[in-house]
């Protein structure tokens, strides 16, 4: 499962019935349809609302029960071929219509015909919605290719590449062993940067990549760069878009550390809270109005867009400028490693063993709740 967008868009597939965005769209569509019916049926405009309320009273129990059942049954449904899956959903809908409405018919004086009408309305709505989601997935499949391209664009600044090579060259004669380590780090980094970055990757891998990246920056910048890692309680198996953090850290170094000759700290704080993974990045920032911070918005927009493509409304990225620091807050839904794609499994593991799953899940949830409660208003950098 790769968020609301399927990995193989050429095959029709069910929408992710556990995704908040999908559920919201369904609720809006059905209630919108009810409103249209109300508009058509009400003899006067003033009565539309009343008509709508009574209609939704009729529709809503069925709809909510249907959504709940589908939420529960989604994993097995998603494994069925598309045609069979849609038929099963139709069956579920009819069954729930019967379950919800038969008591109503007995209790009130409604006739059996209303049940038939209800079933037809539900099936029509369901057919239209499934068609809509299929079209949407098809429309977004170029977008997922786009996401890959954007991941390409999110790749490291040439500035960093050449400066790093230069730094390694300076080590070759006097400290050949450090030069070796640095070259190995660079190889790892570029291996990740050059692979197909369409699939989600485990958070632990992304963090490891960031460590290698920051080690290289430290080689160049020496004492000027301090890194404060706070990832003890992060869920290493959470699946995130590749290169979700590295471009932002690169920004943090480029805009927060390089413009000043003083020491600066980049801090990374990752924790889990209520089934969501939170990432807080912070770097020093001085408003100087130089040309040094163009390009920052591009990286932010890039990561934000990819988050939206993979997670829709369930992920967010906010940034804010404080007096002397700059903060980025990322929130993504926790998707465990069970959803990991085969591509990810084939890859060489680059994890440090201590970091994955060393903290029990319920303990993770407790950490950092207070921080998560902070509001992060959207602030654009002027």
């Amino acid at each position: 499962m790769q968020g609301i967008i399927r990995q193989k868009p050429e095959l029709p597939a069910l929408p992710d019935l556990r995704n908040l965005g999908t559920i919201l769209r369904i609720l809006l569509a059905v209630n919108g349809a009810a409103l249209v019916v109300a508009l058509a049926r009400a003899p006067r405009l003033a009565q539309v609302i009343g008509e709508w309320v009574s209609l939704t009273g009729f529709v809503e129990p069925h709809l909510l029960a249907d959504l709940a059942v589908l939420w529960l049954l989604y994993p097995p449904l998603a494994k069925l071929p598309y045609g069979l899956a849609t038929l099963s959903i139709a069956g579920i809908t009819v069954a729930i219509a019967a379950a919800v409405h038969v008591p109503v018919i007995y209790a009130s004086s409604l006739d059996a015909e209303s049940l038939l009408r209800q079933v037809l309305f539900a099936l029509a709505a369901q057919y239209l919605l499934l068609a809509y989601f299929r079209l949407r997935a098809r429309a977004l499949s170029p977008a997922i290719t786009e996401a890959r391209l954007q991941a390409l664009q999110a790749r490291i600044r040439p500035h960093f590449l050449f400066n790093s090579i230069n730094a390694v060259l300076s080590l070759v004669r006097r400290e050949p062993q450090r030069a070796e380590t640095a070259l190995e780090d660079m190889a790892e980094l570029f291996r990740v940067l050059m692979r197909d970055n369409r699939d989600l990757t485990p958070l632990a891998d992304e963090v490891e990549l960031c460590r290698q990246y920051l080690d290289l920056e430290k080689l160049r910048l020496g004492d000027r760069l301090d890194v404060d890692w706070n990832v003890k309680s992060m869920p290493g198996d959470a699946m995130v878009p590749p290169l979700m953090l590295q471009p932002l850290l690169e920004n943090a170094v480029y805009h927060g550390i390089e413009p000043s000759s003083e020491r600066g700290t980049v801090s990374i704080n990752i924790f889990m809270s209520r089934d969501e993974v939170h990432v807080l990045l912070k770097n020093p920032y001085r408003a100087t109005g130089g040309s040094h911070h163009s390009g920052n918005k591009m990286a932010l927009a890039n990561v934000r867009e990819r988050l939206a493509l993979h997670f829709d409304a369930e992920a967010s990225l906010d940034s804010r400028v404080n007096r002397d620091s700059y903060e980025v807050h990322i929130r993504v839904p926790y998707r465990g490693a069970k959803a990991r794609s085969s591509e990810a499994e084939r890859r060489e593991p680059v994890l440090k063993p201590v970091e994955r799953g060393s903290v029990p899940r319920n303990e993770r949830s407790r950490v950092g709740l207070t921080v998560a409660a902070l509001p992060y208003p959207e602030v654009s950098r002027g």
Partner: protein, 260 residues
């Protein structure tokens, strides 16, 4: 034949990059006598160093904190015997294009020893930094203005400047501490620093950050005009009739800031 060694100053904010250049310069000594007079971490340090240890060649990075390479080159124009400047840069698409166009010398990092040696051998034939070439480089606003006093270059941080006032041939720079004389055009300064300064008079730019307020004054002959009150210096400056709109503009900004 005992040749005088070529005196070189290395300027780069990254220690490994400085070390690498030093190694490469060492490699060149077999072909050409070279003396490294020092290393600086940014343009400001470089200027300081050059006052006591003059060099014929400055090898400078472009991107540096405090003062970047291009600003350094601009200030070096005022040194009594300006050195040749060769920029070293890792990657800087736009700047490099501008360098090509203006025939400014540069080396791309990582630098090859052959390229470095070729550049060093060219130095005696090169002319020192050229004002017109440097001025066409895509530079951000300077962080310092430089003035020459008793054949030394003095840097005035732009942050410290309260106002700039054109008088006959010179511009007076006023800081809370003292005044300096500068030979530049007020219009060019206004363009370079954009919104930092506001023109209150045909001959005067005032730093927004130092404006405390405005006051309406009436002359003995009954004419009324506005005066800018300043922080840091116990002076006030007249606002010309043509520039009166800035009083309202700044007043409105101040109100907005209060509200926000």
């Amino acid at each position: 034949m005992a040749e005088m060694p070529l005196r070189v100053l290395i300027v780069d904010d990254e220690a490994p990059a400085r070390r690498r250049l030093r190694e490469l310069l060492d490699d060149c000594t077999a072909a050409l006598p070279i003396a490294v007079v020092g290393e600086a971490q940014n343009g400001r340090e470089a200027l300081d160093l050059l006052q006591s240890a003059p060099a014929e060649l400055v090898l400078t990075d472009i991107h540096m904190p405090d003062m970047d390479g291009i600003e350094l080159a601009r200030h070096l124009l005022k040194v009594p015997h300006p050195p040749v400047v060769i920029f070293t840069t890792a990657f800087h698409e736009h700047a490099l294009a501008a360098f090509e166009v203006n025939a400014v010398d540069y080396l791309v990092k990582p630098v090859r020893v052959q390229r470095l040696l070729a550049a060093l051998q060219k130095v005696p034939r090169l002319r020192p930094v050229m004002a017109d070439r440097i001025s066409h480089l895509p530079a951000s606003a300077r962080r310092f203005l430089s003035v020459t006093e008793r054949s030394r270059v003095v840097l005035v941080p732009v942050d410290d400047i309260v106002y700039l006032k054109a008088e006959l041939k010179y511009i007076t720079i006023r800081t809370p501490q003292r005044e300096y004389l500068l030979e530049e055009s007020l219009t060019r300064l206004e363009q370079e620093f954009g919104t930092r300064f506001v023109r209150v008079h045909r001959n005067c730019l005032v730093a927004r950050d130092y404006i405390r307020g405005f006051e309406r004054r009436v002359n003995d002959d009954g004419d009324a005009h506005w005066e800018v009150l300043l922080d840091g210096v116990n002076e006030s400056l007249p606002v010309s009739r043509r520039q009166q709109f800035v009083v309202r503009e700044i007043g409105r900004e101040a109100l907005n800031n209060q509200a926000a």
